[in-house]
C-alpha cells in the first residue's frame, strides 16, 4: 500500500501477507482484517492510506490495553524473577536491566539462579562485574532455590533496592522444570511476603506461534507480570505479541535491541505498531 488509492482485494491480500509474515498468526490477522472490513463497509475507511492508519491504530490499541504506568516507587527490596525458554535472552536482559536501574541510582543485587547450564554463572558474573553490581552465587549444580533464598536474605539484610534472579532456560512443556520454578517462587515468598513482585517472561522476537504456548504455560504456572521481547534488532517483527496482548492481561515492559548493556528500551505500543507495518 504505497500511495493513497482505492481499496481493492489486492490491497487486503497484501495486508494479510504483511500481518502473517510479521508473525501475528492467522487468528489475530483474521480478527484485525475483519474489523477493517466492517469499517470499509460503513465507509469509515475509504482509501488505502486510511486502511494503513486504521490498522496501526487498532494494533496500538490492542497493545496498549495492558500497559500500566511504571511507578518505580517500589518498596525495597523489589524482587524480580526472570523466566523463559532456552536461549531467548534472559541473562543478557538481566544485565541490561541491572545497568539501567544502577544508572537510576538503585542498589541492585543479582542472583545466579541458573545452576544448571554450562558457564551460566560465569556469564552473569561477567555482566555483574561490567556493570558494578553485587552478585550472589553458589557452585554449579546447587539448588537454584537455595541460591535465590540466599540472595533474598542478603538483599533484605543489606538494604538492596532491587534483587533480580536469573533462572535456567527450560521448555514450558516440562512439568518437573516448571515445578522447580514454582518452588523458587514459593521460597522467595517465604522470605518476603508478596515477593517476587515481578515475574518477567522473556520472549524472542524470532519465535513464531509457539510464543503463545510459552506464555500460556508460564503464566498458568507462575503468574507472569510482565514481558520482555528481545532480538528486535533482527529482521523479525515480533507480531506474536499482538495476539499475546489480546489474549492475556500481561503488560509488555521492555524490548531488547542488541547484545550490549544499553540495548534495552521501554515498550511503546504506537511505535511498535508502526514498525510492524513497514
Amino acid at each position: 500500500f504505497k500511495d493513497r488509492g482505492k481499496i481493492t482485494q489486492t490491497l487486503l491480500d497484501e495486508l494479510e501477507e504483511v500481518l502473517i509474515m510479521a508473525d501475528l498468526g492467522v487468528s489475530a490477522t483474521q480478527k484485525i482484517i475483519g474489523h477493517l472490513q466492517e469499517k470499509i463497509r460503513t465507509n469509515e475507511v475509504k482509501d488505502s492510506e486510511e486502511v494503513k492508519d486504521f490498522i496501526k491504530t487498532l494494533i496500538a490499541q490492542i497493545l496498549e490495553k495492558n500497559e500500566i504506568e511504571e511507578s518505580h516507587k517500589w518498596q525495597p527490596p523489589h524482587v524480580i524473577m526472570v523466566i523463559g525458554v532456552n536461549g531467548v535472552g534472559k541473562t543478557t536482559t538481566i544485565g541490561k536491566l541491572a545497568w539501567r536501574l544502577k544508572k537510576e541510582g538503585k542498589k541492585v543485587l543479582l542472583a545466579a539462579g541458573d545452576t544448571f547450564r554450562a558457564a551460566a554463572i560465569d556469564q552473569l558474573e561477567i555482566w555483574a562485574q561490567k556493570i558494578g553490581v553485587d552478585f550472589i552465587k553458589h557452585q554449579p549444580g546447587a539448588d537454584p532455590s537455595a541460591v535465590v533464598f540466599d540472595a533474598i536474605q542478603a538483599g533484605k539484610a543489606r538494604g538492596y533496592d532491587i534483587i533480580i534472579a536469573d533462572t535456567a532456560g527450560r521448555q514450558h512443556t516440562k512439568a518437573n522444570l516448571m515445578e522447580e520454578l514454582k518452588k523458587m517462587k514459593r521460597v522467595i515468598g517465604k522470605v518476603i511476603p508478596d515477593a517476587p513482585h515481578e515475574v518477567l517472561l522473556v520472549l524472542d522476537a524470532n519465535t513464531g506461534q509457539n510464543a503463545l504456548s510459552q506464555t500460556n504455560l508460564f503464566h498458568q504456572n507462575l503468574g507472569v507480570t510482565g514481558i520482555v521481547l528481545t532480538k528486535l534488532d533482527g529482521s523479525a517483527k515480533g507480531g506474536i505479541i499482538v495476539n499475546i496482548a489480546d489474549t492475556f492481561d500481561i503488560p509488555i515492559k521492555y524490548i531488547g535491541l542488541g547484545e550490549e548493556l544499553d540495548n534495552l528500551q521501554e515498550f511503546h505500543p504506537a511505535l511498535f505498531a508502526s514498525a510492524l507495518l513497514t
Partner: protein, 293 residues
C-alpha cells in the same frame, strides 16, 4: 487436528468417487491455516497449496479412503517429498583429516550446545574430535564450550591471546594435526543474517579455513523469518545442511519446511533436549506429522 477438520468438511459435502474442485478448495483453506499456524512461511504455504491443488483436483478417491483421508494422503506425500528423503544423508561421516565442521546461526539457537552434542556422537563412533571456540564476544562463551568438552571427555581449543576467529582456527588446526584430532568442530558467535559486518567476518572465516561442512543451527520455534534467515545464510555464506534444535518443546516446527524449501539443503539432525546425548538424525515423516498437528 487437521485430520478431524477435514473429516468434518467432507461430512458436509456429498461428493464421493472424485474430489471436486469445491471439495478441494475448502480442504485447502483448512490445510493453509494448519500450515501457517505451524509457522510454515506464508509464501512457502502459497506455493505448496498450489502443488496440492493440482494433484488433488479430479483425483479418484481410493476405495479404502474417505475424501478427507485422500486429501491428507496427498498433503502428507507432498510434504514428505518437499523434505526430500532423496537427499536424506543421515548422520555426518567425517572423512580424512582435516574434516572441519562450522556451526553457524542467529543468537541463542543452540550452536554451542550442538557442537558438544555432535562431538559426543563422533567420540562414540571412535573419532577424536576437537572443539574450537571462536566466540570471543559473548561473556563466558569460551568457558561454556570448555566445560561441555570436559563433560564429554574431548579436547577444546580457545585463543591464547587476542586473536580473531581466523587465527584461532588456524592455530586449532595445527593443534589438531599434532594431536591427531578429527573432526574439528568450530563454534561461532551468534549473529543476525542482516548484520553486514558479522556476516562478512563469517564469510572471511569460511574462505580462509575451507570447512567441509557448514551447518545452520536453527531453533524449531522460529517463525516467518526462518526463510529470510536460511536463505541469507545460504546465499551469502553457503551452508551444507541444517540442524533444527529444541524439538523437545511443543513447537510445530514449520520453520524446517520453510528452510528446506527455500535453500534445498538437507536437515541433518534435530536437537531434542539440553543434555549432550539429546540429538538425533532427522526423519522427514516424523516432522511432517508434527507440522500437520
Amino acid at each position: 487436528n487437521l485430520a478431524n477438520k477435514l473429516e468434518g468438511i467432507f461430512k458436509k459435502l456429498r461428493s464421493r468417487g472424485r474430489l471436486s474442485e469445491s471439495d478441494v478448495n475448502e480442504a485447502l483453506r483448512e490445510i493453509r491455516v494448519t500450515l501457517l499456524e505451524a509457522d510454515v512461511n506464508f509464501k512457502v504455504v502459497k506455493r505448496f497449496i498450489e502443488q496440492v491443488r493440482v494433484k488433488a483436483i479430479g483425483q479418484d478417491v481410493l476405495k479404502s479412503l474417505t475424501p478427507g483421508q485422500q486429501i491428507i494422503k496427498i498433503v502428507r506425500d507432498e510434504l514428505t517429498m518437499l523434505m526430500d528423503p532423496g537427499s536424506l544423508k543421515g548422520p555426518i561421516k567425517p572423512a580424512a583429516f582435516p574434516y572441519i565442521i562450522f556451526l553457524v546461526g542467529i543468537q541463542g539457537s543452540g550452536k554451542t550446545t550442538t557442537v558438544a552434542k555432535l562431538a559426543l556422537n563422533f567420540k562414540k563412533e571412535g573419532f577424536n574430535p576437537l572443539l574450537v571456540a571462536t566466540d570471543v564476544k559473548r561473556p563466558a562463551a569460551e568457558e561454556q564450550l570448555e566445560i561441555l568438552a570436559r563433560q564429554i571427555g574431548v579436547g577444546a581449543f580457545r585463543r591464547q591471546g587476542n586473536e580473531g576467529p581466523v587465527a584461532i582456527c588456524q592455530n586449532a588446526l595445527q593443534r589438531a594435526q599434532l594431536n591427531k584430532n578429527n573432526p574439528i568442530i568450530v563454534d561461532t558467535a551468534g549473529r543476525f543474517h542482516i548484520d553486514e559486518e558479522l556476516m562478512a567476518e563469517l564469510i572471511g572465516l569460511k574462505n580462509n579455513i575451507n570447512p567441509q561442512e557448514v551447518l545452520l543451527v536453527a531453533d524449531a520455534t522460529t517463525g516467518q523469518e526462518a526463510v529470510n534467515i536460511a536463505s541469507t545464510f545460504n546465499d551469502r555464506l553457503g551452508i551444507d545442511g541444517i540442524i533444527l534444535t529444541k524439538l523437545d518443546g511443543d513447537a510445530r516446527g514449520g520453520a524446517a519446511l520453510s528452510m528446506k524449501e527455500v535453500t534445498g539443503k538437507p536437515i541433518r539432525y534435530i536437537g531434542i533436549g539440553e543434555k549432550l546425548d539429546a540429538i538425533e538424525p532427522f526423519y522427514p515423516d516424523r516432522l511432517t506429522s508434527r507440522i500437520l498437528g
